[in-house]
């Protein structure tokens, strides 16, 4: 089981904020394929410039491995201040 979090406009695009995926996908890109399977809008949004992912609160790349219980966050372009 991995826990998936969406932030900012990704949440508006997908219509959900948090989801658990099971069985575990092996990598970040496998997880992306899973959550985008029936959501082409989310697929496009995740491919937009500036989108980053964190696995267990560390910035990650598509080939980053996932573990049982991992928390994966997809984050669009950041803007604070």
């Amino acid at each position: 089981m991995v826990r998936v979090l969406l932030f900012g406009k990704l949440r508006d695009v997908a219509g959900w904020r948090e989801k658990t995926c099971t069985p575990d996908p092996a990598t970040l890109s496998a997880l992306k394929a899973l959550i985008c399977a029936d959501d082409p809008a989310l697929s496009r949004a995740l491919a937009a410039p500036g989108v980053q992912a964190a696995v267990d609160r560390v910035l990650a790349r598509d080939d980053s491995p996932l573990n049982e219980g991992s928390e994966v966050a997809f984050m669009p372009a950041m803007s604070g201040g």
Binding site: G8, M75, M78, S79, G80
Partner: protein, 144 residues
């Protein structure tokens, strides 16, 4: 000190707290961002609890080393913010004014486009998400 808060805060009180007893550092620079009225009915700021604080702490540490800071403090609002309210306060203390200024500038550039916050504007024509401007991206690239 890094603090996220969903409550309004008192910039002057924070400045005074930061300066109390600080007779070694001669220079304290600050930046205060205020929610503008042209943003319509206000802003909504989302963070990633835990991750946002640790990412800001990481950059604050890099600023402390890079600019020989004696201290740094960052207070950032999350949640709904009404026009006129403070959004962010960055305070830097150093022995020299140039370092205090540059560290404050550096931290704000980072907060504007590389810290895990997402900002939604509630404008007259509905809501929309705000992304860093070309100017914001250029500003932060100065430090790379």
């Amino acid at each position: 000190m890094i603090r996220l808060t969903d409550q309004s805060f008192d910039p002057g009180g924070e400045l005074n707290d930061f300066c109390r007893g600080r007779s070694q550092a001669g220079a304290v620079a600050s930046f205060l961002g205020i929610a503008r009225r042209d943003g319509g009915e206000g802003l909504e700021l989302e963070a990633y609890p835990g991750f946002t604080e640790s990412e800001i702490a990481r950059i604050a540490e890099s600023a402390s080393e890079r600019f020989s800071l004696q201290d740094v403090s960052i207070i950032h609002r999350v949640g709904r913010i009404t026009p006129g309210e403070p959004i962010v306060l960055v305070l830097t203390a150093s022995a020299h004014r140039r370092e205090a200024f540059e560290a404050c500038d550096y931290l704000m550039d980072y907060l504007k486009s590389r810290a895990p916050f997402w900002k939604k504007e509630h404008g007259p024509d509905g809501e929309h998400w705000i992304e860093p401007t070309a100017r914001d991206l250029g500003d932060v690239a100065r430090w790379d």
